[in-house]
């Protein structure tokens, strides 16, 4: 029987797990509630249940777990996790191993790093040996692959490309800094820029009617369709988004000279809206040779990059 592994993605709402072959093929995928509000004990119980259920399908050699937060992957410890109640320095690998029994290989990693590994292994970065993955979601995450290996920093806290400073005097970011990439190229940033547009009394925009009725989670989608219909304020929001992203990509390319930048996350759906200004800025600000050779592409695994990368780690890759 071939050696299959389980890749998992632990979110604040859901917990997804999949049985994955050594070739990266997903055989079966399950999704259950993570119960993150009940604390890490409940989450670990749910992880164990999911592992046991998926294990019935085949001989499982390892489990890889991706979690949002600061992860000490060498020690198998969650240092901080914003989406799980009361977690500080929690030894998840040890506790999960105890619960699962046996000597199954368990790998723990930050979710954005898993996404980068997944896209590099099976997605847009399949042919690249170096890439930066930028995930455009509620915030902006990132993962760095150099020479076919994840670089997650001296303490596993690297890859935080969302917190590069783009505009030193710019908007306040959730991290406390001003003008981070995240405060211009995320769903949160789109919502703020909508507010800013509406605060200018002279601005005529369809957003004035639509935005107040829109669920905050749907705002990027709404601003996208408004832009597609030619709403100038909405087009301008995506332009600002793209310019900030392009400035960030240029700095990354100048620093790291990677082969690829892969853009993923929910807000990457607005690709057509922001990629033009982003690429223009990259070409303008990047050093000629590395900026010309870098490929900028959309993530391909469509939400499965995290579990795929976690599975790669479970197979013993790094």
């Amino acid at each position: 029987m071939s050696k299959t592994v389980i890749g998992m993605d632990i979110g604040g709402t859901n917990l997804r797990g999949a049985l994955v072959t050594p070739e990266g093929r997903i055989l079966k995928q399950l999704k259950i509630a993570s119960d993150a509000d009940d604390g890490i004990g409940a989450v670990v119980d749910n992880i164990a249940n999911l592992v046991n259920e998926l294990s019935r399908e085949g001989n499982v050699a390892g489990v890889g777990v991706g979690i949002a937060g600061v992860i000490d992957s060498r020690a198998g410890v969650i240092t901080q996790a914003p989406n799980i109640a009361n977690v500080v320095n929690y030894p998840i690998r040890y506790n999960l191993a105890k619960k699962l029994g046996g000597d199954i290989n368990i790998a723990i990693e930050n979710d954005a790093n898993c996404a980068a590994l997944g896209e590099w292994w099976m997605g847009a970065g399949k042919d690249a040996s170096s890439l930066v993955m930028i995930t455009l979601g509620t915030g902006v995450g990132g993962g760095i692959i150099l020479d076919g290996k994840l670089w997650s920093g001296a303490d596993g806290m690297g890859g935080e490309v969302g917190h590069m400073t783009i505009y030193p005097d710019g908007a306040l970011c959730n991290c406390g800094n001003y003008g981070c990439l995240e405060s211009y190229a995320s769903a949160t940033a789109v919502r703020r820029m909508v507010k800013e547009a509406l605060a200018e009394p002279g601005t005529e925009t369809v957003l004035r009617d639509i935005a107040p009725k829109t669920d905050p989670d749907d705002m990027p989608e709404v601003v996208m369709s408004a832009a597609l219909k030619g709403d100038a304020a909405s087009i301008r929001i995506w332009e600002r988004f793209g310019i900030a992203l392009g400035i960030g990509m240029a700095s990354l390319v100048n620093i790291l000279n990677v082969e690829m930048i892969v853009l993923g996350g929910g807000v990457a759906r607005a690709w057509d809206m922001f990629i033009g200004p982003a690429k223009t800025e990259l070409k303008k600000r990047g050093l000629r040779a590395p900026a010309e050779r870098v490929r900028v592409e959309r993530a391909k695994l469509d939400g499965d990059e995290g579990i795929t990368g976690a599975a790669y780690l479970a197979l013993g890759g790094r």
Copy 2:
């Protein structure tokens, strides 16, 4: 007889070479004119002569050569070198090997990358496994060591931390971009900021008398002593220098989570003038944990970091 190697640093004016032990000790150092204006042929002749002269002192196992410019270290080719006349895609390793005869190991690398390797091997970064070296000179160069290895990019063009964008609408940089770190934290930047200060008619400063009589090369030194004497405009120049450097360091720390940042190059002599504002900005903008743990230190090898790093490469290190 112990295996010694030769480390070399090829500048536009001088060519320096040293006999170095496997433990990183410099046994003997020589400096001759590089004759870079006469073209690469003359430079290679001079390198060969220096190698032959140093070889008389001991059994030489390898030669490492650091050169400013875009270097394809795998192929041993100088892609571009700003300080040597008419060099495009020059196969220096092949031509130097032909001239030296025998089967001596030859390594070619960008000079800032050599400096980073030197400081990591024998200097300020001796105890670190990851660091970014930033060289503050006429321009701003850089080199990145991750997990004890040089990361010079997919094409050997990485580490150009001087061309991160700090102020998107800032001063024009030599690279054609606006607001690069280099246009705020280099000797060139200091000279521009002096001009800017003098252009404000209201500004009272001793620079108004001194600057016109100062050799441009000496300007950082002159602005440093003026600042030490309390000249407000000069203090402000070093503050702006430090703030830009701190913004850049914060982004580097957030992206790479390295253990150390090492600051070298001639302008690092003004350390006391800029390090305060630089560290303040780093703490303000860096993510808490990686910014608190990163050590920011001055380079230790005092001009020998380049030849030391080149020697490391000659020993077969990377």
